[in-house]
């Protein structure tokens, strides 16, 4: 059963087009990374799927119905922006408030433990640190035992330790069969978590595939080595230098290595790997 879908969805704000004919299905058990530069339409897409906005044309479905009907939202979870937590309410009260909306919510103590919020129950949300606010915001998405969770930039700007705690929570949810749509600028996060990547640019889906397929889409490899300046070589898309190493991007790394050997270039510590998602992403959205 498809959990959520968009069919030929267009959304305009006045004359501006935020989404132009977008179609996608979200199947149970997927962990989807939604990537795109600012203004690509990521938030609009999430808002449509969560019933916050209506499409200008096209159809959005959530659990088989209109996401604007409250009952359809019984099995989804979203994060508020951490800047938007009600500052005077205590941590426990925020959790209770959200839990009151669901048929079968998690116990409050379980939420507190899972997200490392024990000991903060009585603290007002306005007095939490940035990392604590973010943990609370993400915890709220899971309070209703959702089947589909929308996470918006879940760990951007957090320190590595907190980030890994949250990644583990997301992975555990996914391992138990949960479905996640993750919006992020952070490609490392998407690479670490996602099984499927959707790249959005200027309101259109530019790519929708597995992480490795997206990388392969650009068909470029990165060849790095320590070397003296190189002669001109065929098939090199770009050259850069960092930490005393040269980095070459090429569609045919095998041929490049043969050419390096033939040209008797004194290279060492050669390393060849597929482009990162980031490199693929930059190439896709620049096109």
């Amino acid at each position: 059963m498809t959990l959520a879908s968009a069919v030929d969805v267009t959304r305009r704000y006045g004359a501006e087009i935020a989404l132009a004919g977008v179609s996608l299905d979200i199947q149970p058990g997927e962990l989807i990374g939604l990537l795109g530069p600012n203004g690509a339409g990521k938030s609009t897409l999430v808002n449509l799927l969560a019933g916050l906005r209506r499409p200008s044309s096209g159809t959005v479905t959530l659990f088989g119905g209109d996401p604007r009907e409250p009952a359809r939202r019984q099995h989804i979870g979203l994060t508020p922006q951490e800047t938007g937590l009600p500052p005077t309410l205590r941590v426990g009260e925020c959790i209770d408030y959200v839990a009151a909306h669901f048929d079968n919510p998690l116990e409050r103590d379980e939420v507190l433990t899972r997200f490392g919020l024990n000991g903060l129950v009585k603290r007002q949300a306005g007095g939490l640190s940035g990392g604590q606010k973010r943990r609370l915001a993400i915890a709220l998405a899971f309070v209703g035992r959702p089947r589909l969770v929308f996470l918006d930039e879940p760990t951007t700007g957090l320190d590595v330790e907190v980030r890994h705690v949250l990644w583990d929570v997301i992975r555990a949810f996914h391992a138990e069969g949960g479905t996640v749509l993750l919006t992020s600028h952070n490609l490392e996060e998407v690479e670490a978590l996602a099984t499927r990547v959707i790249v959005l640019g200027a309101g259109r889906i530019l790519a929708d595939d597995t992480v490795s397929a997206i990388r392969g889409l650009v068909g470029v490899h990165r060849v790095s080595m320590a070397s003296t300046p190189l002669p001109r070589l065929r098939g090199v898309v770009s050259t850069s230098e960092s930490d005393g190493r040269l980095h070459l991007l090429t569609p045919d790394p095998d041929q490049l290595v043969r050419d390096l050997v033939t040209a008797t270039v004194p290279f060492r510590d050669i390393e060849i790997r597929p482009t990162t998602l980031e490199e693929a992403f930059l190439q896709l959205t620049a096109a």
Binding site: A50, L52, P70, A71, I76, T79, G84, T88, Y97, G144
Partner: protein, 245 residues
């Protein structure tokens, strides 16, 4: 129903945790009593009673128009508001919770008015009259609550504040809140029955003193209540949160 109470509880918690806001909302009606009723009604019990009832109606109207109009518009500008709209509940519990919290705050802000009327003026009513008056105040609060909600959901905060300011004074003056019963200028007497303030204040007057209700005013209060309710529902449905361009 329990979600209504949950919403009411959290609204009240949010308000009561900022004590100065509570003080602010109780100050205005109390000060109005001290400045406009206590010095002018002397030892005329009927006059003082009617004037107190008018002041209560005035306070109920302003606190609801501004409380909901500006309060809702301000909340909508916060990211918490769109988040709550993704929770599996329609507008009913949120409206209901807001209204119960608003009534509780209105009642709290009227306590000093009752005390001032009882001890510093000649105002007089029976226990039944007082209870009826409280009931009338709650009924009178409903249309202004809906108007406030309509303003708050339809407009951004600064516009909501301006609109509430623009409509509250004509409603008060033309509805006859600023005059004793039957002593308003004739053009006010002519238009008053068609305004919600008139029906509201007539309910109050009839509750606490000897005043015959006019069916037209009461019917128009009903019409305003239904119309304002429909506007509030419409404004809520078309609202998709604030968007900046």
């Amino acid at each position: 129903m329990s979600l209504v109470l949950t919403n009411a509880r959290f609204h009240l918690l949010e308000t009561l945790r900022v004590p100065i806001a509570v003080l602010g909302s109780t100050f205005f009606p109390a000060a109005s009593m001290l400045f406009f009723v206590v010095p002018f009604t002397g030892d005329d019990p009927a006059g003082a009673t009617f004037a107190t009832a008018s002041m209560v109606t005035f306070a109920v109207m302003t606190s609801n128009l501004f409380g909901y109009g500006v309060g809702v518009a301000a909340d909508r500008a916060e990211p918490w508001d769109p988040y709550t709209r993704t929770l599996p509940a329609g507008p009913g519990p949120r409206f209901g919770g807001r209204i119960i919290a608003g009534l509780a705050m209105t009642f709290l802000s009227l306590l000093p008015v009752f005390l001032i009327a009882a001890f510093l003026t000649a105002a007089h009513t029976t226990v039944a009259g007082l209870l009826l008056g409280v009931g009338a105040a709650f009924v009178a609060a409903v249309p202004f609550t809906f108007m406030g909600l309509a303003i708050g959901y339809a407009l951004p905060m600064k516009a909501a504040l301006a609109v509430a300011q623009i409509i509250f004074f004509p409603l008060a003056f033309l509805g006859g809140l600023l005059s004793a019963p039957r002593q308003a200028p004739s053009f006010v007497e002519a238009v008053a029955p068609y305004l919600p303030t008139r029906g509201a204040v007539e309910l109050m007057w009839a509750a606490v003193g000897d005043f015959p209700l006019r069916p037209l005013s009461v019917a128009m209060l009903g019409v305003w209540t239904v119309a304002a309710g429909a506007m509030a529902a419409w404004a809520y449905h078309r609202d998709e949160g604030r968007r900046f361009r």
